[in-house]
């Protein structure tokens, strides 16, 4: 289904009242994977709000992404336990290896990089989640290996 059709379908299930705004944005992100410029514009139109306000909300929350996620979306946990055990260093290592910043997607569309909060497995912190797999006790040194393995898997 086209992105615009998906969004239209979501609009049909909501009233254009302000209290529904975040729910609707979350729903679009879940169905489409991200919030494109066009999606934000149509949301603004639907709620009769200025587009700048939608942009303000979307950029305020870490949860929303404005670029399509990669085939292997990398989620680095920056929850309290992971943060204390160097989650930021893991994020930096992925950023270096993939040549993208947090919130971006690689040019080939294979990887995207995001920071998220707790996955609920703080005992093996710091953790990274890629697709549905958890990578426990990560170190910056393991990052390259993880990426190479995923690249090989994608080739086959």
């Amino acid at each position: 289904m086209e992105e615009s059709e998906q969004i239209e379908e979501i609009f049909r299930r909501f009233h254009p009242e302000r209290e529904n705004l975040l729910l609707l944005l979350q729903e679009i992100q879940e169905k489409v994977g991200y919030l494109s410029r066009g999606a934000m514009e149509s949301v603004a139109h639907f709620f009769h709000l200025p587009p700048s306000e939608i942009f303000s909300i979307v950029t305020f929350y870490n949860q929303f992404r404005r670029k399509p996620p990669g085939r292997d979306p990398v989620h680095v946990c920056l929850g309290t336990a992971c943060y204390l055990l160097g989650g930021n260093l893991i994020l930096d290592a992925f950023s270096r290896e993939l040549h993208i910043e947090k919130g971006d997607t690689t040019e080939d569309g294979n990887f995207s990089l995001d920071a998220t909060a707790c996955f609920g497995c703080c005992n093996v912190a710091p953790v990274v989640k890629i697709n549905s797999q958890i990578y426990p006790k990560m170190t910056p040194g393991k990052v390259e290996e993880v990426i190479i393995n995923l690249r090989d898997k994608d080739k086959n």
């Binding site: 410029r37 934000m40 200025p50 700048s52 942009f55 305020f60 404005r66």
Partner: protein
């Protein structure tokens, strides 16, 4: 008319008025950057107008722009504690402000210069490291430009544009990364802005400024007022001329 006592001096205020405006009218200077008189919901973001108010025998730190006057309210605007807090707030603002007064379009009318010279503070922060972000200037609009490196995030332009029913500008991102910007960072010229230039008028710093070329169109001394009332300068006409807002 309620009367309030500021640093031992009794002054009269209008009912429902905020401390800041009552003080300023009576000639008591309280520094401020983000305050707009008559604002329904004062922003209270710059923290420069902080004062001490006696509440039930204790002194509380409050922002003068958001606190409504009460009869016989005791307010202190010049204490050592306040001076220290204001100073820190000012340093935080200046730590990510691109200080370039010599080339700045705002010149001496800059509110930051006014505050620093009135309170005898240096513009450059003394205790904080400068962290000016690398943000691009938007000079796409024919009459004015926006330099986010000089923005102090007071929100005056955001609220004035909102008040005029347009909302081309808004805050985006969060924390230190926060900026005032357009929808998806689109260039200012692409939004259908009618050049009312209210945002330039309210900007306390040189972040939103008239371009050299637009200054040449009008006599040097006339400034923004002339631009605001001259109908021929921009295609859509200014707001005052058209008497309202057309379609983007």
């Amino acid at each position: 008319m309620p009367s309030i006592i500021i640093d031992g001096k009794e002054i009269t205020a209008d009912p429902g008025e905020k401390i800041l405006w009552a003080a300023l009218r009576s000639g008591i200077y309280i520094p401020n950057l983000c305050a707009t008189e008559g604002a329904e919901l004062p922003f209270g973001g710059c923290r420069l107008c902080i004062v001490e108010v006696e509440v039930g025998g204790r002194r509380e730190m409050l922002t003068a722009c958001s606190e409504t006057v009460r009869e016989r309210m005791k307010v202190y605007v010049h204490t050592e504690k306040i001076a220290r807090m204001r100073r820190t707030a000012f340093e935080l603002i200046m730590s990510d402000h691109h200080i370039d007064c010599k080339n700045c379009a705002k010149g001496k009318t800059c509110e930051l210069i006014r505050i620093s010279s009135t309170l005898k503070w240096s513009l450059r922060p003394k205790t904080l490291r400068g962290l000016v972000r690398d943000l691009p200037v938007d000079d796409s609009h024919p009459l004015f430009a926006y330099d986010p490196k000089k923005c102090v995030k007071c929100g005056k332009c955001v609220f004035v544009c909102q008040g005029l029913g347009k909302s081309f500008l808004d805050f985006a991102y969060r924390g230190f990364e926060m900026v005032v910007t357009t929808f998806d960072h689109l260039p200012l010229s692409s939004l259908g802005c009618k050049s009312c230039l209210e945002c330039v008028r309210v900007c306390p710093t040189g972040a939103l400024y008239l371009k050299e070329t637009s200054k040449n169109v009008i006599p040097a001394k006339a400034g923004i007022q002339q631009l605001l009332t001259s109908p021929d300068l921009c295609s859509g006409g200014s707001l005052k001329e058209t008497g309202g807002l057309g379609d983007g």
